[in-house]
Amino acid sequence: MKSRLLEVTLILNFFSMSISHAIEYHSALPANQKTSFIYDLNYLKNSKFQQDVYAEETSTLYGITGDVSGLTLLQWLNERSKFIVPETWDFDNAIVDSWPQSYANLYPTATQSINSIQLKDGEPKTVMINVGAAFYIHGKMQKLALKIKLDEDKEKVVNSPRIGIIQVGEGLFYEGFRITKRIQNTPANAISRLSVLFHESRHSDGNGSSLSFKHSSCPPRHAYQGKPACDKNRNGPYTTEKTAMKLMVRSCVECTEAEKEILRADILDSADRVILTYDILPNTSETRMLKYEVALCDLEGKTTAECSALKIKMDQLIESEGEKIVTKNLNTDPEKF
């Protein structure tokens, strides 16, 4: 009986180890960054969550059946983030082959650099970028299948946004962004870094119009007004990030009150970017003309003051006559060819 139990335990341990080690690392990833990644994933793997209303909210959002645990969340991450490349990874020369490929669904009209962060004054650089999704969109726009070189002996065909190539940089580990400033690997810092990984992982989802869950412009009167730093849906990267963080903060017994307060501000910042309702202009000839004028204002050689006056006029019209749209969940199923 004892040996049977031991056998079962060993199998379970092997299973959980293989899950935590499913993410692969580029050979040039700095050792301290890899160590932090392993620390964070182990922290998540060993996390235990109460099965309450918050866990229920998480399982609905993440599509997890059964209990929400560190392991199930890790599995969710592993399906979306598979290979970690360093900041020095040669993004521009990564494509080693390509051939014509037809894609299903809509074609995206523009790419955007997904989720990088560049800071000023010598502060670091990249935090995290889902480059896999960006390559998929790039290929789709050109109707090409792309083969990229990940590492010395590793090449992959980008056949889905779920390719899961994540680029990380010094910004993720930068002291100024840490929760516990002086020590890199603490539970609070792990929660903060993991939340970014959850955010980026959501960019591996979606198809057609929901492909990669691209961000939307923040609405008027928002702190980040006009910048693509908000989500016009209820299951995008910012919701994914705040939900995971909330669950982890609740279960963090090692976090101090001061650390939790910073993490709470982080949750609130993400929550504040989720647009629940927005107004659109009624579709009349007058409003269509106004939209056009605003969009082409710069090109028509008008002054900044004239352009802002037009923009204000449009905002006022939206406020007085706009139609309220309630946002909803988008389809998370990933495209594949």
Partner: protein, 179 residues
């Protein structure tokens, strides 16, 4: 006899736990770079000296509370500060929010150790929650604190709280349950 041994054992255990507890806080505060922990009740209990000493320490801790409140107040980021940020800079939580919440965190931790000083912090939290040009996450964080300190509210706090916009109240709800 048995009772005596049990009593001595209990005293030794208590002393041991107090030593370990002290060591833990010393280490934690050392790595965070803080000065030694200050709590009115802990200091009052540990002192054997005169009432005057206790009063001096009390005033020192009250002064620290005022300093922490003032630092938190000065750190509150505004909409204006976000105007010239690039898309990349606001993609994840901007450092102004992190720095401000660091100050708010120091205050929250200080108040957790000195709950008798909570009433002194309420006017600050109320003005922060009502500050129109402050960023929503910080206003919501101050609102959350007001809700946590509800039993210390005065008439003025109640009145201030009633003026907090619905959007900020709804946002503050997002961190319910993170205690």
């Amino acid at each position: 006899m048995k009772k005596k041994i049990f009593g001595i054992g209990l005293i030794l255990l208590t002393i041991g736990l107090l030593i370990l507890d002290g060591q833990y806080y010393r280490e934690k505060n050392n790595f965070e770079g803080n000065s030694k922990p200050e709590s009115i009740s802990a200091l009052s209990q540990s002192l054997t000296s005169s009432d005057e000493d206790i009063l001096v320490l009390r005033s020192k801790i009250e002064k620290k509370t005022r300093v922490l409140i003032s630092e938190a107040e000065l750190s509150i980021p505004t909409f204006e500060m976000m105007k010239n940020k690039t898309t990349e800079e606001v993609h994840h939580t901007p450092k102004e929010i992190i720095e401000s919440s660091r100050k708010l965190g120091a205050l929250a931790e200080h108040l957790a150790g000195n709950p008798t000083l909570i009433p002194e912090s309420l006017p600050f939290y109320a003005s922060c929650a009502l500050k129109k040009d402050a960023l929503n996450p910080i206003r919501a964080l101050c609102t959350y604190r007001l809700l946590r300190y509800k039993k210390n509210w005065t008439e003025k706090t109640r009145d201030d709280f009633s003026k907090i916009p619905k959007t900020i109240l709804a946002l503050a709800k997002e961190i319910e349950g993170t205690e």
